[in-house]
Structures are given as C-alpha cells and as structure tokens.
C-alpha cells in the first residue's frame, strides 16, 4: 500500500496543511517582501550610524547585537519562510543555531575570551 492509499483509507489529508506548495496564498506578496527589504536597509543604516556615535561600549554592543538579531530573524522568518513553513524546519534550524551559540559561548569562556 502506498502512503497515498493509506492516508486515503484513514481519511487523513494527503498533503500537510503547512507543506509548501499546497497553499500559495499563504506566501506574502512581493510588496511585503520589498517592505521588509526596506526595513532591513533602514536597520543596516542605523547600525552603521551607531558605529559612529560615541557611547558606552557595553550599550553599543547590546544595541548592535539586538539590531542584528532583528535583521537575522526577519530574513529567516520571511525570506526563508520559516514563519509560514512546517514547524519541523524551525525546530531543526533553531536547534542547530542554539547548539552553536551555547557550546561556543562555553568554549570561549573556558578559553578565557569574551565578547567585549
């Protein structure tokens, strides 16, 4: 029995709701993408601007990292469709990302380094 027949017999949907291609209408419009691109450009400008502002270094680091996290998330969520796509992809990707951040933070700390 193929998976298709099995699903038909059990009355399960043939294709997952969140599987890509099934529901094109869930994709944002081109205009939305351009808007996001604009926001990304503005944030980049703000980052570069911050670089030239004379301020407390720790504050600068916090602000710059916060802004890059926003940019990072916007690209991942919209351009890479993680916001609309199957949750398995999010789990895999955030899993890899979290593992990276955690183990290397510990390793750098153990080696006596720091971000600042």
């Amino acid at each position: 029995m193929t998976l298709a027949e099995y699903r038909k017999k059990r009355g399960e949907p043939l294709i997952r709701e969140d599987a890509d291609g099934a529901h094109d209408d869930k994709h944002p419009s081109a205009l939305k993408y351009v808007q996001i691109g604009l926001i990304l450009a503005i944030i980049t400008a703000a980052e570069v601007g911050l670089y030239y502002v004379d301020m407390n270094f720790t504050l600068l680091v916090v602000l710059l990292i916060a802004l890059s996290v926003v940019k990072f998330s916007m690209v991942v969520l919209w351009f890479m469709h993680l916001k609309f796509d199957a949750s398995l992809f999010s789990v895999l990707f955030t899993g890899g990302l979290a593992l990276t951040v955690v183990v290397f933070t510990v390793a750098i700390a153990a080696l006596g380094g720091s971000l600042t």
């Binding site: 294709i15 994709h27 570069v48 351009f79 890479m80 899993g95 890899g96």
Partner: protein
C-alpha cells in the same frame, strides 16, 4: 499529469519534501561550521601580538555598502521565488539574474578589500587578526561564490525553458541557501566589523 507528480513527491511520512528537508538540515549543520570560525575570531580578537589591527584597516562605509548589497540580493532572491510561484517565468529570470549580479558585486568588493588589506601589510600569516579574519570571511566568500554558481546555473536552465511553476522548489532551495549566506554576513558584519573593542 504535472499535478499528480507534485502530489507524489509530497507522499512522504512528514508530508515535507525530501530535498527541502535536506536543505534545512544542511543549513542547521552549517550553523556549527560558521559558528566555529566566528568563535575563533572572537577568541583571538585583540590578542594579536603585532599589527596591523582591525582599527587600522577596516573601512566601515565600504563594507556597509557591501553588506547592503548582499542584503538587497536577498530581497531580489525572494522576489524571484515569488515570481515563479505565481508562474511568471520572465520576472523570475530577471530577479534571479539580478541576484547573481549583486552576489558577484559582493565578491568583487571582498576581493578589493582583501587586496587592499594585503597592500597595507596584512596577510594570512601576519598575526592572529589576519589569520582569523581572512579565513572566516574567505569561507563566507566561498559560500557566496557557490551560491552565484547555483544561481547562474538555474538561470541558464531557465533560459532553456527548464523551470516552470511546478519546479519552483529548485528556486526555493537555492533561495534558502542564498538567504543563509546573507544571515551569516549579518552576524559577521556586526561581530567582526561593527563591534571593535
């Protein structure tokens, strides 16, 4: 017929396409790859025994433009995908090609930057900064180059009529890879260029 084939492909246990799952696994794994290089850079920052040091070399306005170009290439990439998903092959080609051009521009910028730094006395073996900087950004550049190759290949195939609406997955996968390369640069731009103790 085309429709039945598409449905067949989706007959997987999770309902997700094999190739897309593969791509996301690759990206998850690549996080560790770049994480390792970035960690080496962060660990060695400020520990170079001799110069030149980052502050002597970095040209923030120039790199900002590079970063901006790569960021915009992500926008054009997603527009290419949006076009093919709506069946607009012509627009897809245009955006695909634009993305490849922007990617090439970024590479060109990097080549220029490397040459410039080299003129000012920084090589792979000069100090820890040279070692970690060139290797980290160099591997990122290699990723971008592979991305440009993929985009150009897809462009050539599409010029020969090989990519239709039902093949949008090929563009989507290339896009996932491309956006990933972009977000890695977002991290590098902040951690390497903008944050300088």
């Amino acid at each position: 017929m085309a429709h039945a084939t598409a449905a067949d492909h989706l007959q997987t246990s999770t309902g997700l396409d094999n190739r897309k799952l593969l791509m996301w696994l690759f990206l998850a794994s690549d996080c560790l790859f770049f994480g390792s290089f970035i960690a080496a850079y962060l660990l060695y920052r400020g520990r170079s025994v001799v110069g030149p040091y980052p502050a002597d070399l970095f040209d923030i306005p120039f790199t900002s433009v590079s970063a901006f170009i790569l960021l915009m290439s992500s926008v054009t990439m997603v527009l290419a995908l949006a076009a093919i998903q709506r069946g607009n092959v012509r627009n897809m080609r245009i955006w695909l090609f634009t993305t490849a051009i922007l990617g090439t521009l970024f590479i060109a910028g990097q080549v220029f930057e490397f040459t410039e730094f080299n003129h000012e006395g920084l090589s792979l073996s000069t100090n820890l900064f040279g070692t970690t900087f060139f290797v980290l950004t160099g591997f990122h550049g290699a990723h971008v180059t592979v991305g440009v190759l993929i985009l150009l290949s897809l462009f050539v195939v599409s010029m020969r009529g090989g990519i239709q609406q039902k093949d949008s997955l090929a563009i989507e996968l290339a896009g996932l890879y491309w956006h990933f390369v972009d977000i890695v640069w977002i991290v590098i731009f902040t951690l390497v260029y903008l944050i300088q103790p």
